[in-house]
């Protein structure tokens, strides 16, 4: 999956955050809508779309969307 597709799938897990706020360098945990449920959705999305297992710690250790993308690719 390309980075831009990953960003789109990432954005789809949110309900209210404007789509243009999602960029490679977005520090996602600073988004007001970010919650533990969003984190679970991201983990489930990565499993479903990329068949890779990420953990809650992986999410915590990633600052930007691209950080997480690169981490998933490295798995």
């Amino acid at each position: 999956m390309e980075l831009k597709d990953f960003i789109q799938k990432f954005a789809e897990q949110f309900e209210e955050t404007a789509i243009e706020l999602f960029k490679a360098e977005t520090v996602f945990k600073n988004l007001p809508e970010w919650s533990s449920l969003t984190a679970l959705s991201i983990i489930a999305m990565v499993d479903e779309e990329m068949e890779k297992r990420v953990t809650g710690a992986d999410i915590r250790n990633s600052a930007t969307i691209e950080d997480l993308y690169q981490l998933v690719l490295s798995k």
């Binding site: 533990s36 679970l40 999305m45 499993d47 953990t55």
Partner: protein
């Protein structure tokens, strides 16, 4: 010594005995005098449980309950039982929109279909004595409450709850009692996949009035009560053990 909770002379099957609640239940049942038949998928961990059983003459069956062959393998080796504790279970913290049929099947096979089928085949092949006790380790989730991203796990435990009621009625004529233990979060490795972080578990722990999660032995003691003659008039019930969680 007077002990209405004794399991002396009883043969008890414990599934999921390689870890967590199943492991504790097997060990505690053996300490109460039972002969224990333990099953689990992981031979090394199951052997560790076996080595911790008190006294001798127990039996261990390495088997995967998620397919018919594994279930047949267990049934074929079973002696006649006086009790069963269904402990094998999995969870998946999955927001509902990701709960595909595949993910639902994964959970239902282990948490629901396997214990149903083992029970059915054991009864049909007369491997369960009259006046026996069947215990399902259920949950607070799906019966008393649920949590975010636990819909399909809750569904599997809710399904068990319905089964228990009907099964208790069907088995009453044989004097076989059917009950569940419904724990809140217990300290086991069920969260080992890391989807839920340790920090999140710490926050969850504080939501319990008794300010901690349960210990596996504390659930095993409830199973012992339901297996023993102390609960001879108890059938079709859900024994809630949750450190006060569902009071709130």
């Amino acid at each position: 010594m007077y002990n209405p909770f004794s399991l002396e002379g009883k043969t008890i099957l414990v599934t999921g005995a390689s870890s967590g609640i199943g492991k504790a239940t097997a060990i505690e049942c053996s300490k109460m005098g039972a002969r224990v038949i333990i099953t689990g998928r992981n031979e090394i961990r199951l052997q560790e449980t076996y080595n911790n059983l008190e006294k001798a003459d127990h039996l261990m069956i390495v088997s995967d309950l998620s397919d018919d062959i594994g279930i047949k393998n267990i049934i074929s080796q079973l002696p006649v039982l006086d009790g069963v504790v269904h402990c094998a279970g999995i969870t998946n913290n999955l927001p509902f929109q990701f709960a595909s049929r595949e993910k639902l099947d994964e959970i239902m096979i282990v948490n629901f279909y396997a214990p149903v089928e083992i029970t059915r085949q054991a009864i049909k092949t007369k491997k369960i004595n009259k006046n026996s006790s069947i215990v399902f380790i259920s949950s607070i989730s799906g019966v008393f409450t649920s949590s975010v991203a636990l819909s399909i796990y809750s569904a599997s435990k809710g399904a068990l709850n319905g089964l228990i009621k009907g099964l208790a009625l069907d088995m009453a004529i044989k004097g076989i009692r059917v009950n569940s233990v419904n724990p809140g979060v217990v300290e086991t490795n069920i969260f080992h996949s890391g989807v839920i972080t340790d920090d999140q578990l710490e926050v969850e722990k504080k939501r319990y009035p008794l300010k901690r999660f349960g210990q596996p032995e504390e659930i095993a003691f409830a199973a012992i009560y339901l297996l023993s003659d102390a609960s001879k008039w108890v059938t079709g019930t859900n024994l809630l053990i949750d450190g006060g969680f569902t009071l709130q």
